[in-house]
């Protein structure tokens, strides 16, 4: 898995916008916005579907476990490629054991436990930072 830290390489942020995630309607809006940005970046239908699905999984986590939060959507460009970066942030209870949260089948709610691990598989780059009591930030990038 690629875990190069963001910012080391020259990367241009073409556009950015922020969406509040406070309700189920917002999760639907996240999917629509991410789809639009992926289309603008020239993503294939499969790549669009992958990043929108990953966004849906993480947005639901932000809503259900993070008590709501925000999503920053950025269209990126670096030498020879374009991509979309999604940064989900919440000030919820945080995740005490990230490795476990990334394991398929692990869930603290009633879900299938595929959310984070599945989103990680659907992205090219995946970063998660969490501090118990402070919140969680998940960043994913999918390149065209």
């Amino acid at each position: 898995m690629l875990t190069r830290s963001i910012g080391e390489i020259s990367m241009t942020v073409l556009t950015s916008n922020t969406i509040e995630i406070r309700s189920g309607d917002d999760v639907v809006r996240v999917r629509q916005e991410v789809r639009s940005r992926a289309v603008e970046s020239g993503f294939s239908l499969v790549d669009q579907t992958k990043i929108v699905t990953a966004a849906s999984e993480i947005a639901r986590n932000t809503l259900d476990y993070g008590e709501g939060g925000t999503l920053l959507i950025e269209r990126l460009e670096e030498v020879g490629r374009r991509g979309v970066r999604l940064t989900f942030e919440d000030q919820g209870p945080g995740i005490s054991d990230i490795e476990r949260a990334l394991t398929d089948g692990y869930t603290s709610g009633g879900g299938l436990g595929l959310g984070l691990g599945g989103a990680k598989r659907l992205a090219n780059e995946f970063h998660i930072q969490s501090q118990p009591g402070k919140g969680t930030r998940v960043t994913i990038i999918r390149w065209k």
């Binding site: 189920g24 639907v28 579907t49 398929d104 599945g118 659907l122």
Partner: protein, 133 residues
Amino acid sequence: MDRIPILKLGDALLVTIQVDMHDRLAMALEEDLTAKIAATHARGVLIDISALEIVDSFIGRMLDNIAAVSRVLDAETVVVGMRPAVAITLVELGLSLAGVKTALNVERGMTLIEDRIHADAVDRGDLDDRPDE
């Protein structure tokens, strides 16, 4: 709140999902379908997802649940019309929808359900032309 319409088609129920699935809408559909199977004694449920642009783990779980509950109520669920990009993404996400039968389109799905109803009728002897012992 919006509801997804459920149509009766012979011994089957047909659900065509045409909107972006809201979590609450998905849960309402699960309940409505269960009630409708019981009320109509339907033997099959066809869920057409050809308009769905994504299926995430929540919607996948809903499909799995509907199939499991239907089975308990003696109805077979067939999910039809999944887009290729959705299928690719679902598998990568880790969802195999193991408990759900799938078919390429409504027609083929309907055939699956009719075959099952026919096979059951033969098992019961309704369509058996051999003389009773």
